[in-house]
Amino acid sequence: MMLLYFAWVRQKLGTGEEQIDVPPGVGTVRELAEHLHSRGGAFAEVFSDPKRLRAAVNQEYVIWDTPLETATEVAFFPPVTGG
């Protein structure tokens, strides 16, 4: 699965993308965020408060309880500020 990070999420983590194997027991976007939080360091900081983040699966906005079943690309980013 490809993970993508944008804006300050990308900046704090020091990377914009990574390929991961989804660990056993991780079935939803929320569980994936918790898994990333458990890495510690910058990941713990970024994923400490999910309310500050938005998530997309396969380039569509999702809520945190969305299953990862068909996910090939998951992105985490702050609320958008374009326009």
């Binding site: 993508l4 944008f6 300050w8 380039q59 569509e60 958008v80 500020t81 374009g82 326009g83």
Partner: protein, 148 residues
């Protein structure tokens, strides 16, 4: 329907003329240009986006606008990269037979671009730089489009 995400500037007149040429029945074109505000000693504004999802989100909301209003054509151009005060950021142009349709569709698309299209602004002023926070007022602007 035309969607562009690009580093280069755009020419508002050229886009309006393209809509006129494409749709002889046009009676009204509303074109909105968002510009980098030259305030508080801003030196530059840098826009990042999510390639792929950006175009999909814009297309989704364009299709919604086309379903809601009798539009002839719509153009959205959003710039990315480093911009300076006075530079163009975004263009939304809607062509219709009548003005109200064009006004409403343009506002609808801007309200959704602000709150759903995955772009992020990073600003530099006086040697400091920071990511801009999302505004509650932009989110609140969406509520009027949801009253069915």
């Amino acid at each position: 329907m035309k969607i562009r995400v690009q580093r280069e500037d755009f020419d508002l007149n050229a886009e309006v003329n393209a809509l006129k040429r494409a749709f002889p029945a046009v009676g009204a074109i509303v074109a909105f240009a968002g510009v980098v505000r030259g305030s508080d000693r801003l030196s530059s504004l840098t826009l990042e986006h999510y390639p792929g999802m950006t175009e999909r989100e814009i297309a989704r909301h364009m299709e919604e606008a086309i379903a809601r209003w009798p539009l002839l054509g719509v153009t959205v151009i959003h710039r990315i990269g480093e911009l300076r005060p006075g530079d163009n950021i975004v263009l939304v142009a809607a062509a219709a037979e009548h003005r109200r349709t064009a006004f409403e569709a343009t506002e609808f698309l801007m309200d959704y671009l602000k709150t759903r299209a995955p772009f992020w602004k990073h600003e530099a002023r006086e040697g400091k730089s920071e990511w801009i926070d999302a505004r509650d007022s932009d989110e609140a602007a969406l509520t009027r489009w949801r009253e069915d």
